[in-house]
Symmetry: C2
């Protein structure tokens, strides 16, 4: 697919630069040479303008997040790239405003996602922004178009070159943040529910991680069909939000056996189960299916234990990986499907069709991406952490807006704390490894839940989330009110 | 499910009778005591009338096919049962006119279908007839209603007791034969294509055994959706018929590699594949799927080699049985489904819904069951043989009409020949066993095809099909003409 070439090309343009910057701790620091402290306030007001005024090929610079190697959160570093990328036929250059974080990005950081080329590489499968230049043969996009972008990788940077048919016009009234939150989660949820799932009125759907990006999208999409019952798993603190969002029965998977809970309410089981977990949870899902039921597995979140690759967790997931014989499918009248948007990048037509329907739903007010929090590029580590530790409700977003100077100072103070955090992470990872070892020996299931619970309590103690986020939350609360009018 | 009780009950009523009749060769002989040769012509004209005139409980008799043990065609024997079955609440008694043969019946005869209780037992999953009595609480069926019936087993007899909700009213203009041909094949094809398959305009479907009952039903149902391309496999002699029936690309699987043929026309593969074969063909099907493609497997016809259970064929099928890991499904964006109507007998609502849509299609002239041939109960062995040897185009039907006396004499003459046939069968089975052994050693595929071809040529030599069938064929040719008016 031609889309794959684009970021690789950009990569080539700056490889030299990257390789000269393998330093360990520049992570959250702004590119000081480009925007010196004195000019920072101005730069914040007109972020892209400064570079746009000097469009010379040589002086063109932009910030980019780069995965420098597999490992923890600090492996994604903010770097400055030089040289304006050239456009091939059919491509557009997008000035990126916001980027979406996805589970695949977390897997990729640990080296568990084979659709991302080897480091150094810029991750990022979705973003929103403004078309700044169009290549030859591009007829349906023009400079100034607000677009959302879906690509295999390479979108976590200020400037991205992508095939025009990987962009979708942002409808009126949709913010850049919403636009960056929409493509991956909604296309994933849409294709699972309406293509593989064949969702129809009166059916029941089990949505795991119902407070996550896909979970919230799936819940909203379920609600576009008459009398669909949504069972959603999430930790108790998120139940109010997901219930308001459309989940019929919220289940706390950390304190209860979700299989039992589902059976209590729906003894025959489920028509559709969306499974992002993998491992033993896929087995449970299979057994929870009604006749003619569809199990759609779309991830292996259970593989992620701790911020670095946990070989035991990976091995365990492989060991418990679901494998099914056709005779069992026949006798059960069941369907098992696998979905991952990342492996569907050749299917432009299918994706465009899905996107068009999704945008119609948006225009009709039937769906609305929920933003959990927005982070500066400098804060990508914290953003990933929030998502990986399941503390988000909705989408975690990166903005390319430069960080205000005062926030930077805050960040610097926090740097000291980060060292402590790192130690804590280390402890936590070690603990997880121990847990994984324990689990291997024991007979999994309930034991796992209890361990999760312990981790959860730990999470509650860390109250280091940026203030900005809280502000955003308030803004969000106002937004729906406006919509209702 | 309550439906399971009905035939079992009937079974009890006549067990004694059956066990006194374990003779080896009464197969195609009519029940001489009940309809002596002298009265035969009359009986043929008013078949059911004779019994209906003497409805006393004790004198009530009816003919039934009984599987007396697992094995070859001669294991299904025609017996006479005594005693009128009693009705429980919700049940109806149906005077059976015609019965459908299905692949599951052939598997059952060899002991390969676990939904049929152990012999002695009356097989038969579908029939048509007239309601002769209704039990308590039956409100939507009355005496005289023409119905088609779907049941787990027990319908290959003149009288069947079934739950009323296993019956469906026969629409006007539909013959008893058509009605007996419809339930299993059309519900199977419908649920595979429209529930699991989620068939939509412009998609492509691969239908194996496109001249078989399900194959013809699936082709017709595909044609109810705009611009669907149907790839159908069948031996060359059947191509004209299936092409007229709606198959876009007919492929001779006996002389060509169907995978190659499909790829030539549709390099990206198929959206939906219906797989009744199992074994290595399921692997091929999986690899032939497009992204977002659905493989729906609904049988293991490859297990059937020869008329008796062929342990090597069964073992080979198991050995090659398709087993899939979820990570492979995820990376391929694929769906694997299993379907068998026999395991869906608790799902009355789903089945009724499907049936109603199918009957609407029938009324609109969009579908029409194609009858390959109709056989007397005495001829059940030949009927099964025709189907198992893949010599049918469309549905093989049994009629409960008594056999005219002259045909009986023909049958008796043929009995002698049958001994020869048996020997031939034995030889053929032995050959198949040898072939299976060879295949185990060799690298399957093309080798199999050639062997099939040899068998095929042999089949051509046997021209012992009843004349009646040819007559029927002529009738059928006239029928569509009438319809066209």
């Amino acid at each position: 697919m031609s889309g794959e070439d684009a970021p690789a090309q950009q990569q080539n343009a700056v490889d030299q630069k990257q390789e000269t910057k393998p330093s360990e701790e520049p992570k959250t620091e702004p590119p000081k040479t480009e925007s010196p402290p004195a000019a920072a306030a101005e730069a914040a007001a007109t972020p892209a303008a400064t570079t746009e005024k000097v469009p010379e090929e040589e002086t063109f610079t932009y910030r980019a997040l780069v995965l420098t190697g597999y490992g923890g959160y600090d492996k994604v570093k903010l770097q400055v790239k030089k040289g304006k990328p050239t456009l091939k036929a059919g491509e557009v250059l997008v000035r990126v405003k916001a980027c979406g974080l996805n589970f695949a990005d977390l897997m990729a950081r640990q080296g568990l996602y084979d659709r991302l080329p080897s480091p150094p590489v810029t991750p990022g499968m979705e973003c929103s922004g403004v078309v700044e230049a169009v290549g030859e043969e591009v007829t349906d996009r023009k400079v100034g178009d607000k677009v959302m972008v879906l690509n295999r990788f390479g979108l976590w940077q200020e400037v991205a070159v992508v095939p025009a048919n990987h962009t979708f016009l942002i409808p009126e009234g949709m913010s850049f943040e919403e636009a960056a939150a929409l493509p991956v989660n909604y296309i994933t949820a849409y294709m699972m529910l309406f293509d593989f799932g064949n969702l129809r009125p009166n059916q029941s759907v089990l949505v795991h991680a119902a407070a996550g990006g896909v979970g919230i999208a799936a819940t909203q999409l379920c609600k576009t069909v008459k009398d669909v019952t949504v069972f959603g798993t999430a930790s108790a603190s998120k139940h109010e939000t997901i219930t308001q969002g459309g989940v019929t029965h919220a289940i706390d998977y950390r304190t209860k056996d979700y299989v039992e809970e589902v059976r209590k309410i729906s003894p025959k089981g489920m028509d559709i189960i969306l499974d992002p977990l993998g491992g033993s949870d896929t087995h449970k899902a299979y057994n929870l299916l009604k006749p003619m039921g569809k199990l759609i597995t779309y991830g292996a979140a259970n593989m992620l234990a701790g911020q670095k690759k946990n070989l035991l967790a990976v091995a365990k997931n492989w060991y418990h990986q679901f494998s099914i014989h056709t005779l069992s499918l026949i006798q059960g009248n069941k369907s098992v499907c696998g979905f991952h948007l990342g492996y569907l990048d050749g299917e432009t037509e299918l994706i465009t069709e899905a996107m068009n329907t999704i945008l119609d739903f948006y225009k009709d007010g039937k769906i609305k991406p929920r933003i959990d929090s927005t982070w500066h590029l400098e804060q990508v580590g914290d953003a990933m952490r929030k998502m990986q530790e399941r503390n988000n409700i909705g989408k975690v977003i990166l903005t390319t807006e430069p960080m205000p100077e005062e926030e930077k100072k805050e960040e610097t103070k926090k740097e000291d704390k980060k060292e402590d955090k790192k130690k804590e992470d280390k402890k936590k990872d070690d603990k997880k490894k121990d847990d994984a070892k324990k689990d291997e020996k024991k007979d999994e299931k309930k034991e796992e839940k209890k361990d999760d619970k312990k981790d959860d309590k730990k999470d509650d103690k860390k109250k280091e989330e940026p203030k900005k986020e809280e502000k955003k939350e308030e803004e969000k609360k106002e937004e729906p009110k406006k919509e209702e009018k």
